[in-house]
Symmetry: C2
Subunit: 129 residues, 2 copies
DNA sequence: TATAAAAACAGTAATAATTACTATTATTAA
DNA sequence: TTAATAATAGTAATTATTACTGTTTTTATA
């Protein structure tokens, strides 16, 4: 694996990730620009990809809209509101999948999985009521 | 819900979907063009979106590459190979999630979910051995 | 069967998200 | 202190998808 050198831009990206909830690359870009006005969106994407590859963060892909990024790499799932697009964490104790144990059923070697729930969040339900 | 009128292009798209495994819009386009040389990619996308909205097919989104489409709308999961990108069906009896029963844990009303496993498929494992 | 409204079409242009390229600057190990 | 390499900003290019427009097809009803 390649060696990462320190960069203050990457540090700012990580800082913002740790204090925010599933931001998109663009949201991170807007925030980091407050501290580094010349930072480029490419730098944000490159660092997010580097950090995902290192396993420091997770990339979340949904059928609608841009990817989101999550600094919580412990096993957990997500709920996405189809109306406002917000992403929520789900712990779902009791829904421990233990998929790696089911290798026999797999068409190969499983290295990870993602569980995404879709629906309408409570605040969007409230708006329609 | 809006009313669909018959179209032979849409019929060809459905036919190909039912005899193939998780094709992308572009793969469908290439195939349907054999029968309708002037079909446009926009027509393929429009019909795939219409059919997804009607619940006749499912759209599959992965972190890499274009969306895939699945004419199997019964509950099942997917395994995606990180190397060749192929998509496999998983039945995984015993991993019945029953998520709709867990509404109390959700930040809203759940309408669906997707479970995607990532890894290396057996044929890609063979190639590296 | 004729007709008219609605839907679908092909072809093209536009958009959104992301990646690639390049010349310069910053980091780091020796 | 230096030299190798990683990282950067800025820009261009790419990929996947959607939107637009004028024409054609479908379908319900007269």
């Amino acid at each position: 694996m390649r060696k990462l050198k320190y960069s203050k831009q990457r540090e700012a990206i990580k800082d913002f990730l740790s204090e925010s909830s599933h931001p998109t690359a663009d949201e991170i870009y807007i925030k980091v620009r407050e501290q580094f006005p010349n930072v480029s969106l490419g730098t944000v994407y490159r660092n997010l990809n580097l950090l995902s590859e290192c396993g420091e963060i997770r990339k979340l892909t949904f059928p609608e809209g841009p990817d989101h990024f999550d600094n919580n790499t412990t096993p957990h799932y997500h709920f996405v509101c189809r109306h406002c697009g917000r992403v929520f964490d789900l712990s779902l104790r009791g829904v421990e999948l233990e998929l790696p144990d089911k290798e026999g059923l797999m068409p190969g070697h499983i290295e990870g999985y993602s569980l995404i729930c879709y629906g309408t969040c409570n605040s969007c339900i409230g708006m329609r009521a």
